[in-house]
């Protein structure tokens, strides 16, 4: 199970990555999330321009056997979604932290991320679920 450092994590098993230059946050699901779901076969992502609040449902991910809501880790406006992943959702199983990203949010500042978990904290959190 991978928990890359430099990312921020939520209890809903999403990750968020801050990009200083563009003022955006990239969002995806964690390795643990994709592993728990199994073969991911369907993805529903938000419209560009939609504004999301922290913990708001922004989409749905489905494996063969399960349906799971996606929750926004921070507040912001959707500026881009991963069309390739929507077309071939299995990329979430193969590369949850890279090619399997879901959306980019324009956020006011990085302070929004301060409430999220570090990679170490998230790893401990996942271990506590077992």
């Amino acid at each position: 199970m991978e928990f890359p450092s430099g990312l921020y994590y939520t209890k809903d098993h999403e990750w968020a990555k801050w990009d200083e230059k563009t003022g955006t946050v990239t969002v995806g699901i964690t390795d643990h999330a994709q592993d728990s779901l199994g073969d991911i076969v369907y993805l529903e992502l938000p419209q560009k321009g939609r504004s999301l609040k922290t913990h708001e449902t922004f989409g749905v991910v489905e494996s063969i056997k399960a349906v799971s809501d996606l929750y926004s880790p921070v507040s912001g406006e959707v500026v881009e979604t991963n069309a390739k992943a929507a077309e071939d959702p299995s990329v979430l199983n193969r590369a949850a932290y890279t090619d399997g990203w879901l959306m980019r949010l324009k956020v006011a500042d990085s302070a929004a991320l301060s409430g999220l978990m570090s990679s170490k904290d998230y790893e401990i959190y996942v271990a506590s679920l077992k």
Binding site: G38, D39, V41, Y42, E44, V60, E62, S63, I64, K65, V67, K130
Partner: protein, 369 residues
Amino acid sequence: MNTPKSNQLKRTSLYDEHVRLNGKIVDFAGWEMPVQYTGLADEHDTVRNKVGLFDVSHMGEVRVRGRGSLEFLNKLLTNNVAKIQLGQAQYNVMCYEDGGCVDDLIVHKMGEEDYFICVNASNTEKDFEWMRQHAPASLSLENVSSEYTQIAIQGRFAAETLAPLTDASLDSIKYYWFQQSSILGKPAIIARTGYTGEDGFEVYIPWDHGPKVWQTLLESGAGRGIKPCGLGARDTLRTEMKFALYGHEIEKDLNPLEAGLGWVVKLEKSDFIGAGALRRIQETGPKRALVGLKSLERGIPRQGYKVEHNGREVGLVTSGTMSPSLRVGIAIAYVERDLSAVGTTLDVVIRDQKVRHEIVTTPFYKRPY
């Protein structure tokens, strides 16, 4: 994820095998069972193209013996037990007086007045209690579930995988027949039955014999690409065949006629529990029919989703999944009888969106051999 979640959950004789094989263990009907090992789609494809091994020891077994057994079972079950020959198995339904289902099950005729019945895991105690209430004193009725490990070997290479472990002449066992034989030197019931739509066997062996037989089957099938398969693949495989599952297509409030199981309801045989109610349903015509739906648009139908026609609710999905074989959403659903013809287009409501589906012929998947 392999640590037990509760001490109350039951384990089959193969639990340690599942853990060793990295099975993802879940609570199913009170049992700690593997939902998948390598991945649901991979296991599904393995059964469709090669051969897969399932631990189905959570299923219950009831032995009915003694004078009056046949009469008793024919009173309790909808199919005609008198038609079963020695060594034959029969799919059957057990109903309440109102025609609702207690369970679906398989009856094996072991001898004269001697039957071995396989029932659903979640219903074992309820079924046994129901049987006990109706059994005459002359009968021996035993819940022998804890005595058996049940393994399903499913797929086109099932026979050659099992053959080296047994003296039984597997070729001579036809679909829905069985032999009382042996596997690795211990007694075994070897039935040509299954829940996948593939050729294959379900074997009943002594409980403690489970791990040895499981391991030897995996070795025997290694050259054919055998894989252990979990409950996840078992469910997608049976859904592609439109096989009923208790708690989905059949239940206390659902009758076998509407569930498309009229072929195992023999109203003309001697009287049985539920016959009156089922006869009335037959005479007035069932209100609903169980159909197979295939998605025409993006989306995956799931159990509990509503089915609509021109904005009017006309049915309910009982099982739904992305079909690993067809790579499209499929569903089993109850719909109004007048809208149940093949070719009818209906909407399944997925998260407030209407997604077009078509009623198709079932099974959804037909094996090519």
